[in-house]
């Protein structure tokens, strides 16, 4: 069996788990933006599906933080590069594909399907290293790359997570041989269900090998499904890939359906029922001094504050997650307002959240960077 792991030290594992948090978070802005681009009173099926999925991505982010905490790490969502620069890139076999901020529509759905079903390669190719060397521009956010070398890409997100699973197993095995464990984290730092209501799945504490593997399994299963099945085994829940596929096919899946052939009730999609936001908008493209620009910067600033709040919640103050709930609803309102405003100088296009965190405002992370550099 192939046991080649790219992860050799605990510090490396921590960086990989930070990478996993970054990756899970990176899906949230595209999904949320598509969700809130939907016009009132239309596309209710699509809105419901997007909402369920984005909530599960938030769960995945929290699960990754739990695993990182379990091995004595300190989750930090305020790192300057934590929020992807959009369009960001995800590995798709030999190439990357773009993940951007855009309105709900066919193009957005095609991207979402790719996010949720990473490329698979045939068995004999799996014996090769999961890492592929591919030169990336310095300014690109390449998700699922090696934390120490942005030019080393995993073949797929599935293989990125497989490397983490292997790394955890190997490092724990090695520690056990020396009478130790890698699961030295303070149990009180774990985020559990009492801090996380209606969160799209169970949130359990991670404190040993089994709970860590269960946690990672949940992330992988909810995304791409379990071994090609459309429903996951325990929850009877449709994997994200197939939820998005329902929208493309215009029909719901039923139990027992074969992948690609939903036989449930039809659902209505109005492909024009979304505000025409300018894809991957940046603050710099919005007229200086306009109210839209001011509101866009205000949103980014608030989002940065929110990530700082999450960081505190993930570092021993889980009760702060309850405080984070109203902030998320506040985002919704702020995003809706940006998306409904026409973009000055771009007839037919609307504004959008830009998710440029820590830019265009008084830099809230300058202190952090100074500390890191010291």
């Amino acid at each position: 069996m192939h046991t080649h792991s790219s992860i050799r030290t605990l510090d490396e594992l921590k960086e990989f788990l930070h990478g996993a948090m970054q990756l899970e978070h990176a899906t949230i802005p595209p999904y949320l933006t598509a969700l809130y681009s939907i016009m009132p009173n239309v596309n209710q099926d699509a809105a419901q599906i997007l909402r369920v999925i984005v909530v599960e991505e938030m769960l995945h982010l929290t699960i990754a933080a739990n695993v990182l905490n379990a091995i004595g790490g300190t989750p930090d969502l305020t790192r300057p590069d934590f929020v992807a620069s959009y369009p960001a890139y995800l590995p798709d076999g030999e190439t990357d594909f773009e993940v951007g901020i855009q309105a709900f529509g066919r193009e957005a759905l095609a991207t979402f399907l790719k996010i949720e079903r990473p490329a698979a390669r045939s068995e004999h190719l799996k014996a090769q290293s999961p890492l592929i060397h591919r030169k990336s521009s310095q300014h690109k956010t390449v998700l699922g790359s090696h934390p120490r070398n942005k030019d080393l890409h995993f073949y797929s997100i599935g293989e990125f997570y497989a490397a983490i699973v292997e790394g955890i197993k190997e490092l724990e095995e090695k520690a056990k041989r020396e009478g130790q464990t890698i699961f030295t984290g303070d149990r009180s730092r774990q985020i559990t269900s009492e801090y996380y209501y209606s969160g799209g799945g169970e949130l359990f504490p991670v404190f040993d090998l089994k709970s860590a593997l269960d946690a990672l399994e949940l992330i992988i299963e909810q995304g791409e499904g379990d071994g090609g099945g459309i429903y996951d085994d325990d929850e009877h829940e449709l994997a994200h890939y197939y939820r998005f596929e329902e929208l493309v096919k215009g029909r719901y899946y039923l139990k027992g359906d074969k992948p690609g052939h939903p036989t449930g009730p039809p659902l209505q999609i109005d492909w024009d029922g979304a505000y025409p936001i300018k894809p991957n908008l940046k603050v710099a493209e919005i007229s200086d001094g306009s109210e839209l620009r001011e509101a866009t910067v205000a949103f980014n600033h608030r989002y940065g504050e929110f990530l700082a709040l999450l960081t505190r919640a993930y570092n021993g103050q889980p009760n702060l997650l309850l405080e984070a709930v109203p902030v998320m609803f506040e985002f919704r309102n702020m995003m809706l307002e940006l998306i409904r405003n026409p973009l000055p100088g771009h007839p037919g296009l609307n504004g959008s959240p830009t998710y440029e965190i820590g830019k265009n405002t008084a830099d809230p992370y300058a202190a952090h960077r100074a500390e890191a550099a010291a």
Partner: protein, 174 residues
């Protein structure tokens, strides 16, 4: 956007004291202009927009007074403008007063009605009082533990004009 909708937005900013961004953020500007056209007719709507366009420029000390005299104080336009304010704040068109219909004739579409389900949700009154419309835009579990967020009082020149209009209106009514 057309000049007509721009003028309508400019008028609405001064009537409601909310910013152009806030008004566009409701997603209802064009529908509200359409509501005016439908209820009082394109001619009266155009008269209202023209009266607004003819005001002294912003920053001119006489602008607020002129707005009060030529729009809010106008027999034809005053009640329409007041119904427009109520429309922005509540999402509901309120039927024009009896005196207005006696003077200018009843309009078939002039009844009290909610413009659309989202018009109720996007009423400016919710934002003005830092609350959310009952049954929509829920602010999240536990949000009741925090004080309401009231938007900052408008500060820019044009907005200050709008505020002074309101204060003078209070004076008229007392």
């Amino acid at each position: 956007m057309s000049d007509r909708i721009e003028t309508f937005l400019g008028l609405s900013v001064e009537l409601t004291a909310f910013s152009r961004f806030d008004l566009l953020a409701t997603g209802l500007a064009e529908r509200y202009l359409g509501t005016l056209d439908k209820v009082v007719g394109g001619d009266t709507t155009n008269t209202l927009l023209a009266a607004f366009a003819a005001l002294p420029p912003p920053g001119d000390g006489t602008r607020a007074r002129a707005l009060r005299a030529t729009i809010l104080g106008s027999e034809l336009l005053g009640d329409v403008a007041r119904s427009l304010i109520k429309l922005w704040y509540s999402g509901t068109w309120f039927e024009l007063p009896y005196a207005w219909t006696q003077r200018f004739g009843a309009k078939p579409a002039d009844a009290t009605f909610v413009v659309s389900p989202d018009a109720y949700v996007e009423g400016l009154l919710w934002k003005a009082i830092g609350a959310h419309p009952a049954g929509a835009k829920a602010p999240g579990y536990g949000s009741w533990a925090y004080p309401p967020k009231i938007p900052a009082f408008p500060a820019s020149d044009t907005k200050a004009d709008a505020v002074s209009v309101h204060l003078q209106n209070v004076g008229i009514m007392s």
